[in-house]
């Protein structure tokens, strides 16, 4: 099963142990090297623990994302995680370039395997790129690998 990231924005995160909301999804933090969403970045959390590792998600429901316990949330550590937690590295809406220096448009959405967090598709201005094309995701842009022009059979 795959899930789209964009609709997750603002969805509340429910701690099943206490049946309380522990925050809302702000954005995603990617690990481009692994081709995965490493964590969801939460806002409105009671403490500094604002990162929800993707693999700690129990379920992604239409009205809430559930976790077993709020103990799975972690606080950002180091400048890069802090940057991710600030929302600066949010891929959605970012400009996109391929590695040949061609601008492709803005990231509409990412399609993600709900179990592993693996990015299966990147949607840029309505065009779908295979998730494995992802090279980088930074404060300025998302970078995908250039796919050479091929003949129709390719």
């Amino acid at each position: 099963m795959t899930v789209r990231l964009q609709p997750l924005s603002g969805r509340s995160v429910l701690d099943l142990t206490t049946a309380t909301t522990v925050g809302e999804v702000r954005c995603a933090a990617l690990d481009p090297g692994a081709g995965e969403v490493a964590a969801l970045v939460l806002k409105k959390t009671p403490g500094a623990e604002s990162l929800l590792p993707w693999t700690a998600i129990k379920a992604i429901g239409p009205d809430a994302i559930t976790i077993e316990t709020r103990d799975v949330l972690v606080a950002p550590e180091g400048p890069k995680q802090e940057r991710a937690a600030s929302g600066d590295l949010d891929p959605l809406g970012k400009r996109t370039f391929n590695d040949m220096g061609e601008a492709l448009g803005q990231v509409d959405d990412l399609v993600v395997d709900d179990h592993t967090g693996r990015i299966t598709e990147i949607v840029v201005d309505g065009r779908h790129f295979d998730g494995s094309a992802l090279i980088g995701s930074g404060g300025y842009a998302v970078i995908v690998r250039h796919v050479p022009e091929s003949n129709p059979s390719g």
Partner: protein
């Protein structure tokens, strides 16, 4: 419950994922791929690898790392006249308050020069300014004279062929002289692979005149035809 805290690795961006990123996979056949259409690219013969860029279009392009960061843009293109290529670039911060940067970017360290950005592996490739010392000649404004002594005009822009790590000058945009019959017009003049340059003028074979084209489209083919003709007649 199988949960684990995010380790540093999980959230770290890697500066260059060339080796760690998965291999490119074929996109679904139904999705149109980004084509070169938006590149102001001279048409070339099928199979040609000439990818042309005008030097004047490079100024102001953002310099973007493969990890998606940006902080500087191209300021000036630095030529090496004798080698007939682009050596590198000076850089500046974008915007009105953007001051010049001391560091420079060498062409050899560039991942790709595209229509919308100059891609670099990481910020770590920026070099000390003295890397560019010894080059830096400006060819704009130089006269182009044929080897039989005809002045073809004044260089107004440089057309380079770009491949990874190289940018060779393959032609000039020239403000045509009387001799070309279109005085004052901007025309495109292909150059031989080995460029003969004197201190004040650029000397080209007389036959280059026959390959002057008035529009940029098709100029890549002109360069190839001209160079083929030079090879055949030598």
């Amino acid at each position: 419950m199988g949960s684990r805290p995010a380790s540093d690795d999980e959230l770290n961006e890697t500066e260059l994922n060339e080796t760690s990123a998965p291999a490119p996979a074929k996109p679904p056949a139904s999705t149109p791929q980004p084509g070169p259409g938006r590149y102001e690219e001279a048409e070339t013969d099928p199979g040609s690898v000439l990818k042309l860029v005008r030097a004047s279009h490079l100024t102001g392009l953002p310099i973007v790392t493969l990890s998606g960061e940006h902080g500087l843009e191209i300021k000036d293109v630095v030529f090496d006249k004798r080698a007939g290529g682009i050596t590198g670039f000076t850089m500046r911060k974008p915007g009105l308050l953007g001051g010049p940067q001391k560091q420079v970017l060498m062409v050899a360290d560039v991942h790709a020069i595209g229509p919308d950005a100059v891609m670099v592996p990481s910020r770590g490739v920026f070099a000390a300014p003295d890397s560019l010392s010894g080059s830096g000649d400006n060819v704009l404004g130089d006269r182009v004279i044929t080897d039989d002594g005809t002045d073809l005009g004044e260089v107004t822009d440089v057309i380079a062929s770009v491949t990874a790590g190289h940018a060779d000058i393959v032609g000039f945009e020239v403000k045509a002289s009387e001799a070309l019959g279109t005085e004052g017009a901007q025309v495109f003049l292909p150059l031989p692979a080995a460029l003969a340059i004197s201190g004040e003028a650029i000397v080209v074979p007389a036959s280059a005149r026959d390959f002057v084209s008035e529009d940029y489209t098709g100029f890549g083919a002109s360069v190839e035809a001209f160079r083929e003709q030079l090879g055949a007649s030598s």
